[in-house]
């Protein structure tokens, strides 16, 4: 077995050996002819003739070797199948173990893939980072500061030479009042007006927040996600016309992987 494995990697070695083996045969034949009194030239000619072409013999040896390997593989395969069929319980357990193993690694890989390699399905998110301040003399108690004042954000956005664009958000809990009842939603954020351009995902309905909405004095607007629209407003498409309280509502956005988006963006 080891020899066969080695032979796979040392192809040229096996070829050289075969060469030597066949040449030895040829030389012995010549020597034997010479010993019976035939002239060396004639002996060589005869031996070569009898041998019938070194290359042809070599090719035949290679062929049988390939055949043997295929043969062995096929026999092993049939043997395995027969044994599996004979012992159903073992076969079942083996298949189950394989299935579980493959399934588990697929799950782990998809999680790893979506978290590390393809984290968020937004425009250029593989180039996006979260920035923080590490200036030890200017941190509010901790070693890293991940929050910035609006002035800082504006300064960073306009003065840095590293980032193409910068977005910011602040968490808040929106309150919804339609005149009859008040509802509280636990997830929400105030975002900089360039956020939706940055993410590059068009809204399902209406328009997303744009730079215009960031001008001083512009009316407040908001975007809600698909889940909220579905759960709280019954997927109603005419919400703006029907309900005067929705004047400020702008768009429904279908965020894929909402939780990750909330924690990272």
């Amino acid at each position: 077995m080891m020899r066969r494995v080695r032979r796979l990697f040392q192809k040229s070695h096996a070829e050289k050996e075969l060469d030597q083996e066949l040449l030895f045969h040829l030389e012995r034949q010549v020597a034997d002819y010479v010993a019976t009194g035939i002239a060396p030239e004639e002996a060589r000619r005869r031996a070569r003739l009898e041998f019938g072409g070194l290359e042809r013999v070599k090719e035949e040896v290679r062929d049988t070797r390939r055949e043997t390997i295929l043969d062995n593989l096929f026999r092993d395969f049939r043997f395995a199948l027969r044994n599996l069929r004979k012992d159903r319980r073992f076969a079942f357990i083996a298949i189950l173990a394989l299935a579980l193993g493959i399934g588990a690694s697929t799950v782990v890989f998809s999680v790893v893939y979506s978290v590390f390699f393809h984290a968020l399905p937004y425009k250029d998110f593989n180039r996006s980072v979260v920035i923080g301040t590490h200036d030890l003399s200017n941190v509010g108690g901790g070693k890293v500061r991940l929050y910035f004042s609006p002035e800082e954000v504006r300064a960073l956005r306009e003065q840095n030479h590293v980032f193409e664009e910068l977005i910011a958000y602040a968490r808040m809990r929106p309150t919804y009042d339609d005149g009859k009842s008040i509802r509280f939603f636990s997830f929400g954020a105030v975002v900089s007006p360039n956020t939706f351009d940055y993410m590059g995902v068009p809204p399902l309905l209406g328009r997303a927040i744009s730079q215009e909405d960031g001008r001083p004095g512009a009316p407040p607007v908001f975007v809600m996600n698909y889940r909220l629209w579905q759960r709280e407003f019954g997927l109603c498409p005419e919400w703006q016309a029907k309900n005067p309280c929705w004047n400020h509502a702008l768009a429904v956005q279908r965020f894929r992987r909402k939780l990750l988006a909330a924690s990272r963006s």
Binding site: R4, E17, E21, H25, G52, V61, R65, T68
Partner: protein
């Protein structure tokens, strides 16, 4: 140079090679010579079938090979029988003999009924 008319069946050649090698480790040339001599020049094994057979038997683990100095002082690949090969040879010889017996029985029966 006597061209043999006798084409050997593949399985038969394998068995004969195993048998010759069982007589003592030898290289390809010596195996061909011995086959020829022992069969009184009846078989002349061509290199194009001998060497594929040797390598096939080696791959199957019935023969093992090692490079040793030959009678003339040059390195040659010597084949010898493995334990697996010896078992295989015994089985081959056994089935061959039974085949011969059976064929013989049938041939003789034909002569009787003439």
């Amino acid at each position: 140079m006597t061209e043999s008319k006798q084409e050997l069946l593949r399985g038969t050649l394998d068995m004969l090679v195993l048998k010759v090698v069982a007589l003592g480790p030898s290289h390809g040339y010596a195996i061909a010579q011995r086959l020829q001599q022992i069969s009184k020049e009846f078989f002349q094994v061509h290199q194009g079938s001998l060497y594929p057979a040797l390598h096939r038997l080696e791959d199957k683990g019935w023969l093992q090979a090692e490079w040793k100095e030959s009678e003339t002082g040059r390195l040659a690949k010597f084949y010898s029988l493995t334990r697996k090969g010896r078992k295989q040879m015994a089985a081959d010889v056994d089935s061959w003999e039974r085949l011969c017996d059976a064929v013989g029985l049938i041939l003789r029966a034909e002569e009787d009924s003439k």
